[in-house]
Amino acid sequence: MKINGVFIEDTFAEAFPMKATRLVITAFDATWANHAANALTGFATSVIACGCEAGIERQLRPSETPDGRPGVSVLLFAMSNKELTKQLQNRVGQCVLTAPSSACYGGLDEGDPLPLGKALRFFGDGYQISKKLGRTRYWRVPVMDGEFLCEDTTRVTKAVGGGNFLILAADQARVLAASERAIAAMRKIPGVIMPFPGGVVRSGSKVGSKYKALPASTNHRYCPTLRGIVADSALSAEIGAVLEIVIDGLSSAAIDEATRVGIRAACTLGTKCGPLAISAGNYGGSLGPFHFKLRQILK
């Protein structure tokens, strides 16, 4: 299969189940909402060492937020409810509560509740105010610029982490151009994040390592500098650089759509200016139960 001359390998991306929540962060203006959201989603590229994977889903207009101010929708993914709870408390407590003029709300309607303001309210030292509007409880915590308003809980849902595809190109310039085009298109898809820097990861990994302490190590089959050294290199002679786009989604359908849109956008550059081939990271079924078959998605 080829799209605009770009070869689509007959393979699949392998993903695994995660737990996720959506937060809505609002502030005095979009700049301050983004400061809070960027801090919250910082150092959240991979559960391997960050505890969670997080990213900005999209910008929200004032009419889309609970308090009518500009906002940002953020998704957080973790391997368990317990870890997600810990990450929420640390990240919202240190990055949103601290951000001037910010407020934080749960962004999902269904799922089990996880504590949000319920835990952070104690910062108010007894001066916090509980408010219940409808079925939702909020906490008003006094801070130096007024109040930090935070919903009592946020909902957790089953999600999918580790959806991916690989962009194979002749050199760094071409692979970066294709990746940027893919990410720009994928950021319009609701319910997904691409948690790595700029949405792209260069250090794609495989499960396990020759060193017993490491759970993951470099995906040697896709490292161009190991071509000719390792026996099972997946790269042909013309490939000089490979980048991976990792996708976490609230559903497998959302990852399907992001994969489709991202690959098609990358391929619009053609083989001359963009990728030579598209592949995906799979581990023979050992990593997770969700398989995203590239050719099927792109039909």
Partner: protein, 272 residues
């Protein structure tokens, strides 16, 4: 959804206690049982069928009472689910100790609307009497949850001793609005009378316009742009879209705290 209708043919000579005439209580009864239901009328009781014409099917989720008059007390009291629609004026204790469901009144209501209620929605298109959302006789605190929406004016001591929940008055509220509030929220779109928030311990009273008639026990706390105010008013607007235009004019809030004679943690927000 199906509807069961009760039409009051003529106003009764004595006050009538309507406790037990709720959508949830009547849902499992047959029509003959509903006709035979005994209603307290002073020291006597009387069959519902002697006063009301009944139409519709039993098992309905919606109960509609038409031709209501101020002699009908405790309408919707203690209801838990379903919808009760009332056309006409109601007596006292409308929706008292309500646990859930929706109680919609096209008309006015007497004293004690939503007293001691814990959940659900009461929406009165007209005016109501005193002590809305307050405590039922013998209780320590007033409403503990739910929402009361008043289309026109409310009498004295709205939300007296209320602990949780929301009362919104689109018109004016009488003297002692929010008196002895323990917590919860009251929003008044019109004016309020004297003794506003007297003895309130916690809770929020949100008003439109400049501060006036506050007792010495309330202290100015500053002017803020509180996200909570927007949240509160947007919540009210979601319950009553017709009020949206009146609720959207928020620039900032002048906050007063008190009653210093109680715990002093209550707040009165003047929205302008």
């Amino acid at each position: 959804m199906s509807t069961l209708g009760l039409h009051l043919a003529a106003a009764p000579d004595f006050d009538l206690d309507m406790r037990g005439v709720t959508p949830d209580a009547l849902k499992s009864r047959k029509l003959n049982d509903i006709r035979r239901l005994r209603l307290k009328q002073g020291r006597r009781d009387i069959a519902l069928g002697e006063l009301f014409e009944i139409d519709g099917a039993p098992g309905a989720d919606i109960l509609e009472i038409t031709g209501a008059c101020p002699r009908l007390h405790h309408l919707g009291a203690g209801m838990t689910v379903g919808e009760l629609r009332v056309t006409g004026d109601c007596g006292a204790w409308l929706g008292a100790e309500m646990r859930g469901g929706r109680l919609l009144v096209r008309g006015n209501a007497g004293d004690g609307v939503g007293a001691g209620m814990r959940n659900g929605l009461i929406d009165v298109s007209g005016s109501i009497g005193d002590f809305a959302g307050a405590a039922v006789p013998g209780a320590v605190s007033g409403m503990k949850g739910g929402t009361i929406l008043v289309g026109r004016h409310a009498g004295r001591r709205v939300g007296d001793r209320m602990r949780r929940g929301l009362v919104v008055v689109a018109g004016d509220a009488g003297a002692g609005c929010g008196s002895q509030m323990i917590a919860g929220s009251i929003v008044v779109l019109g004016t309020t009378g004297p003794d506003l928030g007297a003895g309130m311990r916690r809770g929020t009273i949100a008003l439109f316009g400049a501060p006036s008639d506050l007792g010495v026990n309330f202290l100015p706390n500053g002017r803020y742009e509180l996200a909570f105010t927007q949240l509160l008013l947007r919540h009210v607007a979601s319950l009553k879209p017709a009020w949206r235009a009146r609720l959207s004019r928020v620039a900032s809030v002048e906050r007063w705290v008190g009653d210093a004679g109680a715990s002093g943690l209550g707040e009165i927000l003047f929205i302008s």
